[in-house]
């Protein structure tokens, strides 16, 4: 028996479960959800940079097109690139921590939100050229996240712009004991933003929950914490919602302060107490993203 035969005989016996394959087949029965989740996270900064780029380029950003296939790329082509790195420390509510009475609590300093954005003007470029830019951006993203502990990324195509975005880290709500929690609420004040978290649903097309006004009940929280690596945190990503892109579509010169928002995280305990933290997100005039805790309370 040669090496190949020996290798194949051994590894062909390591198989995916029938259930996991069946779940994939079952997905075809639910044709409603067809959005590619090319990235679980599109950063606030990404959208800001899109606006900046469109202003610089003088072109309007119009209807959003679906994401780009990562494999249909070639290895040539150059383009103008605007890169920007921003970061922001954010604060969140800590369940069961007495100190929230007096002052806001700082998020684990190991997890500041940070983003790395590349914006590319694709006006007048052929499909082949655009695919080459995607490949170029993909390589850049891979290099960027090489040494990161956690990162999510996206490459999205609009009519005039391709933007790639890397987001390092996420919101992490400390949960000492999920069994003591009635619910966790997360709310954006505007329609421009939404939260995303991985839920306990086994159906593939419903694996993520998105929304700008979400409530996770205690039972599901326990399931999520048991199912995924949590380190005692409930993890949530921030994403821009469709309204954001629609606004940019209508007016590429839009004032960035339009997208300022206030995020509210509330933990309702079964004993009737609640802990809350309020975070403002906004851009400065250069499009840098920041998130600042403005209030925290416990009652």
């Amino acid at each position: 028996m040669n090496n190949k035969e020996r290798y194949k005989n051994t590894f062909s016996q390591i198989r995916p479960s029938d259930k996991s394959v069946e779940r994939v087949i079952d997905m075809t029965k639910n044709k409603k959800s067809r959005r590619i989740r090319f990235s679980p996270f599109i950063a606030a900064t990404a959208c800001a940079a899109v606006i900046i780029c469109s202003i610089i380029g003088g072109g309007a950003v119009s209807a959003r097109i679906n994401t780009v296939d990562p494999s249909t790329v070639t290895k040539s082509g150059t383009t103008g690139v605007l890169s920007k790195i921003t970061d922001a420390n954010v604060l969140i509510a800590y369940a069961g921590d007495e100190s929230v009475k007096a002052k806001p609590l700082k998020l684990n300093v190991a997890t500041p939100l940070k983003s790395n954005i590349t914006i590319t003007d694709i006006k007048g470029k052929s499909e082949k050229e655009i695919e080459a830019i995607v490949e170029q951006n993909r390589n850049k993203v891979e290099a960027d996240i090489e040494n990161a502990d956690t990162a999510t990324w996206s490459i999205e195509r609009l009519d005039n712009i391709l933007f790639s975005c890397v987001i390092y880290d996420y919101f992490a709500i400390k949960v000492d004991d999920p069994n003591t929690i009635e619910s966790i609420e997360m709310k954006c004040n505007t329609d421009y933003w939404k939260f995303t978290y991985q839920n306990s649903n086994e159906e593939l097309s419903k694996r993520f929950t998105h929304g700008n006004d979400l409530k996770v009940d205690g039972e599901e929280l326990v399931q999520i914490m048991n199912k995924y690596e949590s380190d005692g945190y409930f993890k949530v990503e921030l994403d821009h919602d469709a309204a954001f892109c629609n606004a940019v579509d209508k007016n590429p010169d839009i004032d960035l302060s339009t997208f300022d928002d206030t995020l509210t995280f509330t933990i309702n305990h079964k004993d009737g107490t609640k802990a809350q933290s309020v975070i403002n997100i906004n851009y400065d005039k250069d499009g840098n993203f920041s998130a600042t805790a403005v209030a925290a309370s416990k009652s």
Partner: protein, 160 residues
């Protein structure tokens, strides 16, 4: 994409994609997740493929990208420790536990190259394209991992 084309693709590629993901993660749950995510992308894919081979290569490429990304994901399933005694009960006599352990002990990049070469029968040029790396790098990884396997497996691994 029709349901029947999709199902054919799943039946044709699930084992292959799972093993590619497994060669990266060495975790059954994560490998299944990656395989599923890869098929989700196929289901949502808008363009058409020239033929099955074109589709299968596309899936492989997406699976490799998914596998790389999985290491940075915020949402990772909890690992279930391998119950080796229980797992072994399901394998037949051709399963070589020494080879399995030896390959598992290789660094990630070497494991993946070894897998694509020995399981998928891919030539070095195609491996380099899939991994987006130079042919010389693939050759070097292959050479290094073969030497290690020979050292660990002795006569069970034939010099090439």
């Amino acid at each position: 994409m029709t349901e029947s084309i999709f199902e054919d693709a799943v039946n044709r590629n699930s084992q292959s994609l799972f093993l590619i993901a497994y060669s990266y993660t060495q975790n059954h749950c994560d490998a299944e997740d990656i395989m599923q995510n890869t098929f989700i992308k196929l289901w949502n894919y808008k363009k058409t493929f020239y033929d099955d081979e074109h589709m299968d290569r596309w899936l492989m490429r997406v699976c490799i990208n998914e596998s790389k990304d999985s290491f940075k994901s915020v949402f990772r399933k909890k690992s279930v420790p391998l119950d080796e005694a229980n797992e072994l009960a399901h394998f037949d006599k051709h399963f070589n536990i020494d080879l399995f352990r030896a390959v598992s002990s290789l660094p990630k990049k070497e494991r993946v190259v070894i897998h694509l070469f020995y399981y998928e029968d891919l030539p070095i040029k195609e491996i380099s394209e899939l991994l987006n790396t130079k042919e010389s790098t693939v050759k070097s990884l292959l050479k290094r991992s073969r030497q290690k396997l020979k050292l660990m497996l002795g006569d069970e691994w034939i010099n090439e």
